[in-house]
């Protein structure tokens, strides 16, 4: 098997960990977690311009290509994706519907983003603050000198907060209703326009053929546009719920409306969402939760809700237990605890890499290690979920950005 079409064969032993130069190099890793739950042993990863060009088992490497040779025991994993964070952002929000607000507007490069990289998070979804419908999130690469440099993709999801209240339900219903109203308005305008056209035509049947007016629909209110985007599948919603009841109210508020929506279920306090685990599982949507064991409210019965939702069929996304440096630091260990408590290990790997990336619509670019994906990867001293494992290095777009493996 040939490593790259450009470079001709030659099964050659790797040079001693040469410094990575230029933008072409190889990583030889004894063990790679691919991110989709599978593992590749003795993997060779060829990276060019920050992208994985080829990867495979025991591939021959052309002489002259710099090789990063990992030690036995070291494990490579895709960079973590945290799709739900406000770390590094300031300020609060409002309690009403502002779906047009973009979190990217408040994005600015700061030292805070280093905390992500230091803990292996190479992609972050940052959402606007507030209750109600606070606005749209942005996918960010936690490095860069300007916000433009940091933005991977804007408008990755619309955050919606659902509570057991008429105002929360109204926010959602009214959004779609206003979209309908707008359509009606456009329709009326069009009729008016058509009539005017017809009249104009009959009036100056002979004289004028010069003006071919085209109908321009009145522009949609910026608050309405996101709801069109939802309907058309250009935007997905992330609905934060408080308990099983707010899920029921969410379903009620959505009614017959069809759009892509996923759930944010905070496990930071005891919660009764297990009542709806199977319903959610049937939908197969993404569910964002913390790796925490919770109690059945009012009792001392423990439940591993992430595992339950995963088993039920939901696509699990795990988030740090708190949106803070401390949370990031203990994240993998916390996930390890959940694995110990019954969460499928493969599912756990997916829940911190592939799933969050797919959730934000970036699954074709990152979240897993395979050809064509960004070279965002982590090098661990051992099993990533063991508490004594060290994160040796973090690579973002083919460059080491954190850890001791400098070049």
């Amino acid at each position: 098997m040939i490593l790259s079409p450009l470079l001709l064969l030659g099964p050659i032993a790797a040079a001693p960990a040469a410094p990575v130069q230029g933008d072409l190099f190889v990583i030889k890793a004894p063990r790679v977690e691919l991110g989709d739950g599978e593992v590749m042993e003795h993997a060779v990863i060829l990276v060019e311009d920050g992208e994985i060009v080829t990867m495979g088992q025991d591939l021959p490497v052309e002489r002259g290509i710099p090789v990063v040779e990992l030690e036995e025991g070291q494990v490579v994993m895709p960079g973590l994706v945290n799709p739900y964070s406000r770390y590094g952002m300031l300020g609060g929000g409002y309690n009403d519907s502002r779906p047009q607000v973009m979190a990217s507007a408040e994005l600015y490069p700061s030292a805070a983003y280093k905390a992500f990289l230091e803990n292996g998070v190479t992609t972050v979804g940052q959402y606007p603050a507030g209750q109600g419908i606070p606005g749209q999130a942005v996918a960010v690469r936690p490095k860069g000198d300007s916000s433009e440099e940091m933005i991977v993709e804007d408008g990755v999801y619309l955050k919606v907060v659902m509570r057991n209240s008429s105002s929360a339900k109204r926010n959602l219903r009214d959004g779609f209703k206003k979209a309908d109203d707008h359509l009606e308005k456009v329709e009326k305008e069009r009729e008016k326009f058509d009539k005017a056209q017809a009249k104009a035509k009959s009036d100056k049947k002979k004289s004028s053929s010069k003006s071919k007016a085209t109908f321009t629909p009145p522009p949609a209110d910026p608050r309405v546009q996101p709801f069109f985007d939802l309907r058309e599948g250009k935007l997905r919603a992330l609905v934060s719920i408080r308990n099983a009841a707010s899920y029921a109210h969410l379903v009620d508020a959505i009614g017959d409306e069809e759009f892509e929506w996923h759930l944010r279920i905070p496990l930071t306090r005891d919660i009764d969402v297990f009542h709806v685990a199977d319903e959610v599982g049937e939908r197969g949507c993404f569910v964002l939760m913390e790796p925490l064991i919770t109690l059945v409210p009012g009792t001392l019965r423990q439940r591993n809700l992430p595992a339950e939702f995963e088993r039920a069929g939901a696509k699990l996304v795990l988030l740090p237990r708190t949106d803070s440096k401390a949370g990031f630091e203990s994240f993998l260990e916390d996930v390890g605890v959940m694995i110990g408590a019954g969460l499928d290990r493969k599912a756990a790997v997916r829940a911190i890499t592939h799933n969050p990336a797919t959730f934000m619509g970036l699954g074709d670019r990152l979240g897993t290690l395979s050809e064509g994906k960004r070279a965002n990867l982590l090098i661990f001293s051992g099993d990533p979920f063991q508490p004594d494992t060290k994160l040796d290095a973090v690579m973002l777009d083919g460059k080491f950005v954190s850890g001791d493996m400098d070049q």
């Binding site: 339900k169 099983a244 029921a248 009764d272 009542h275 059945v296 009792t299 019965r301």
Partner: protein
């Protein structure tokens, strides 16, 4: 029995941590009816079908006096379609074998708080997974008043709960507030005058088209509604004087009052009966009489009975309208049937006791056309109990709201372990009867014969007091059981002396 998929889920959840094996045993073991050999398979396709539920073999207490033993209730689309002995159960029906158990109309709590998670607009704010709702269902309550809204305890649903948004029209008429009393009287008088004028106008209109409709100005519309019989006013009154004045007011203006409290009602029961009153009482409320007065007063255990015997309709509510597991255990909503049982202890007929928490409650709320009794066409709000509803040992086994099983004792964590249903995985290998304590004592003799006799003295007392044979946890499927309780008392006593001594 076939739980529809979501029920099956709910059923299995709490058990998973307890006993993994019980997961599949429960639904399977319940499927004793011949129709359902493959519960899992049917459960899959259940959702698209019309929802038909059949409760087979139970003792149906209609709540109106009728009792049908070993009968079947058929529920279609949330309504009672048929019940009796010759009911055709369609093949696709979900069948629950309730033989040996009793089926009652779901209970109605005319006052509650905290069952729906919040108050206000329930459709938008109810928490249908609220623990208190489950507990209330465990107490047999399927409908409750929250604030002034009558709503059903539809677990897992946020729509279709509200039955009536104006449960009561409250009036205050108390000696403590003479001004207020005067105002009520004036309003009623004004309304009476208006109605008289209105009727006269209606008559006159036939001959004289010019006749002028009497002005509504200054006329209290609430009072007009009351006098027209469209609503019944509710008063809060406990003292004899207040009760008497309300009775007189009602007789003077011709309306039927609902009186909440009514503690000293037994002293003026005849007056209240003549006024056509309905009393909402708490049989266990205790208040000594005012010693400065010579006449009778204070609370009485016989209050409900006395009122009833004088023609007052009686509705029972517990002392506390919430569910509280600390402090005043025993007088909260969880004990609504027990509270009604105390009215019976005071002499209220058993049927009136049942009616006091079902149909009479529905009547004061104006929803008796839909709920409150087992009648064809009414909402299928039913409870299945393992014994006499008004007995303290009885547990609600299933609660059904609008034809859907919303509570299954064996699937919820609260009471599943107490006298588990025989077919449950929680059930001990040897069956025990209600009140029985020590299976350890049994082994010397044949365990099956032994058990029913282990009854502690409480059991005997109740049996005598009630004149009923509740045998709450009797296993319907085992024929030997009914025979046992008959002889054992004599032969067993010596053995059980230790247990008895304890009591």
């Amino acid at each position: 029995m076939h739980l529809r998929p979501n029920q099956q889920r709910r059923a299995s959840r709490p058990m998973r941590l307890l006993v993994a094996a019980s997961l599949f045993l429960t639904p399977a073991a319940l499927a004793s009816a011949p129709l359902d050999d493959e519960p899992a398979k049917e459960a899959e396709s259940e959702e698209d079908k019309e929802e038909v539920l059949a409760l087979k073999g139970g003792e149906i207490h209609t709540g109106l006096g009728g009792v049908l033993r070993d009968a079947t209730i058929l529920v279609r689309d949330g309504k009672i379609e048929a019940f009796g002995y010759d009911v055709d159960v369609p093949e696709d029906a979900e069948v629950v074998d309730v033989s040996g158990m009793r089926v009652y109309p779901g209970l109605i709590a005319v006052g509650s708080f905290g069952l729906f998670g919040s108050s206000g607009n329930l459709d938008d704010s109810v928490d249908p997974y609220n623990q208190n709702m489950t507990l209330a269902l465990a107490a047999g309550i399927t409908t409750a008043v929250d604030g002034n809204t009558v709503a059903k305890l539809k677990r897992g649903h946020v729509q279709g709960l509200v039955v009536n948004t104006s449960a009561f029209e409250s009036l205050s008429y108390s000696n403590g507030n003479p001004q207020g009393q005067l105002k009520v009287e004036e309003d009623l008088k004004g309304a009476a005058d208006y109605i008289r004028a209105f009727r006269a106008w209606e008559d006159e209109k036939k001959s004289n088209k010019e006749a002028k409709e009497p002005s509504k100005k200054g006329v209290d519309q609430k009072s007009v509604k009351i006098l027209r019989g469209e609503v019944r006013p509710r008063f809060n009154a406990d003292s004899r004087t207040d009760l008497l004045e309300i009775a007189h007011l009602a007789q003077r203006f011709g309306f039927r009052p609902i009186i909440s409290g009514c503690r000293e009602g037994w002293t003026v029961a005849d007056e209240l009966g003549r006024a056509g009153a309905t009393a909402i009482v708490t049989p266990r409320s205790r208040r000594p009489k005012d010693e400065s007065l010579l006449r009778d007063g204070g609370s009485s255990i016989e209050n409900a009975a006395t009122l009833y015997s004088h023609g007052v309709n009686v509705v029972v509510v517990p002392g506390s309208r919430g569910i509280s597991l600390g402090g005043i255990v025993g007088t909260d909503l969880l004990h609504l049937p027990v509270e009604a049982g105390f009215a019976i202890r005071g002499g209220l007929p058993e049927l009136a006791g049942l009616r006091s928490i079902t149909i009479e409650a529905a009547r004061v709320l104006g929803v008796d056309y839909r709920i409150g009794s087992i009648e064809v066409g009414k909402d299928a709000d039913l409870i299945v109990t393992d014994g006499d509803l008004l007995h303290y040992q009885t547990f609600v086994q299933w609660a059904i709201v609008d034809g859907e099983i919303v509570y299954d004792k064996q699937a919820e964590m609260f009471f599943a372990h107490i006298r588990p249903r025989p077919e449950s995985s929680l059930a001990p290998a040897e069956r025990m009867d209600a009140g029985e304590e020590a299976p350890a004592e049994a082994p010397e003799e044949e365990p099956v014969e032994e058990n029913p006799e282990d009854e502690t003295p409480e059991e005997e007392t109740t049996g005598g007091g009630d004149g009923e044979e509740p045998q709450p946890s009797e296993d319907p499927e085992e024929p030997e059981d009914p025979e046992e309780p008959e002889d054992p008392e004599e032969s067993e006593d010596p053995d059980e002396s230790s247990t008895t001594a304890g009591n």
